[in-house]
């Protein structure tokens, strides 16, 4: 009997659908609570090529929900331990383990080798990195995230659909949203949410059903209520990522490049950092002024004579009207060996607009 006969007898799948699954290449980022059920079902379904990236090792507290692992896997790298288990589950597929951390350096090139990227990570920093790399590499992203008894599922960047940033433009401040290790999670919840993600992956590949693109499914394990919200695409958010895509490559080069690069960041990223100094390098007469934030005013023309106004212990975020003079200003400061200076990509009017759109 064919391993996939229960798939093949479904009219919606058939042999041609099963062939699509065998030809598909899926990368799962994170082999934890979400990653384990995702990987388990994708491997069993016969996805021909599966990548698993995770730098972490299996810990005894993982076994309450990370069902691919047993006590024999304790201390092993998760990507490698998952591969071992999955290869036993299905030896007819190709599984590649990447026992490393996803980073700005490796993300885009890695994503380009796969058809679909699945987010099973546990922190905002990596989630935004995955989202942005998917936009740059033009890959659909199957997203899932959990909090205590609740989960969220969506498919981003699919056929010009919305991205994670269209839903939540700015990463929350570090530490403002606790993770599972800090507050706990019902063990079965990532199993449910991860299985929903695997379902979206199969639908994407098979071209059947309605993909959760442009929608966010919210699930509550205690009430069994689900609510599906419609997300509007924000071209502005996607363009911002594309405009700063050189960031990824620059970070890739920092290891072997001697020249100092100018780092461009958005105002939202800047404000998520602690211990910052915001510097307006426009001339005194220029408006609009950014209000409600402490700003140091140093016109570009006076910058080299005003270095004493720069706080050496803070991260300096420079801005102007459009982002051009501030870039020049960062370069001048770097020439004076002043470190920790970044160029804010938005100009003053956009910064004000951003601040006005915040809740508080």
């Amino acid at each position: 009997m064919n391993r996939y006969s229960r798939h093949i007898i479904l009219n919606e799948i058939g042999q041609s659908g099963q062939d699509k699954l065998s030809n598909a290449k899926v990368l799962v980022v994170g082999a934890g609570g979400l990653g384990c059920p995702i990987l388990q079902y994708l491997a069993a379904a016969g996805i021909g090529s599966i990548g698993i990236i995770d730098f972490d090792v299996v810990d005894i507290t993982n076994l309450q929900r990370q069902v691919l692992f047993g006590t024999a896997s304790l201390g092993q790298n998760k990507a490698e331990a998952a591969k071992k288990r999955l290869q036993d589950l299905n030896d007819a597929i190709n599984i590649k383990a990447y026992p490393e951390q996803l980073s700005y350096k490796n993300a885009v090139n890695l994503f380009k080798q796969y058809d679909i990227i699945v987010d099973g990570t546990d922190n905002f920093e990596t989630r935004y990195l995955i989202n942005d790399a998917c936009i740059i590499a033009n890959k659909p992203l199957v997203f899932g995230a959990i909090y205590k008894f609740e989960g969220q599922v969506s498919v981003f960047n699919h056929q010009n659909g919305p991205s994670y940033r269209c839903l939540f433009p700015n990463p929350p401040q570090k530490g403002s949203v606790p993770n599972c290790s800090e507050i706990g999670v019902l063990g079965v919840l990532p199993g449910i949410i991860g299985t929903m993600q695997a379902n979206e992956v199969l639908k994407l590949i098979l071209g059947i059903g309605d993909v959760l693109s442009g929608k966010l499914l919210c699930y509550n394990a205690l009430t069994l209520q689900t609510i599906t919200l419609n997300i509007t695409k924000s071209n502005n958010e996607i363009q911002k990522v594309l405009k700063t895509q050189h960031l990824f490559h620059k970070k890739q080069m920092t290891n072997n490049a001697c020249e100092v690069d100018i780092i461009d960041i958005s105002i939202s990223e800047m404000l998520s950092k602690s211990n910052i100094q915001l510097i307006d390098v426009r001339e005194p007469h220029e408006t609009p002024k950014v209000e409600n934030l402490p700003i140091t005013y140093i016109p570009l023309s006076e910058l080299e004579n005003s270095l004493d106004k720069i706080d050496p212990n803070k991260v300096k975020g420079l801005f102007c009207q459009s982002g051009i003079r501030s870039k020049r200003a960062v370069s001048i400061l770097q020439d004076h060996n002043i470190n920790n200076c970044v160029n804010i990509i938005e100009g003053a009017p956009e910064i004000i607009n951003y601040l006005n759109n915040q809740h508080s």
Binding site: D122, E150, L167, F168, N179, I231
Partner: protein, 77 residues
Amino acid sequence: MTITIKYFGLLTEATQCHEESINFSGVLVSELLENLFSKYPALKHKNFQVAQNQVLVPVNTKLSGNEIALLPPYAGG
């Protein structure tokens, strides 16, 4: 009008409930939020998006629906 408000994730720690119905006569979503912030001061510092009748909307949208959901991002996995 009567509006049902749903709170998700860690917002329920600020509100101590998942759902409530309130009578509100304001015009904009932002006015409703101001009202909720005075009721639940801890809510003001939370990161969330607003959905009106299951559609995510900016806070300067006119209140037209009878269901508002406040949705924070989740990181866990």
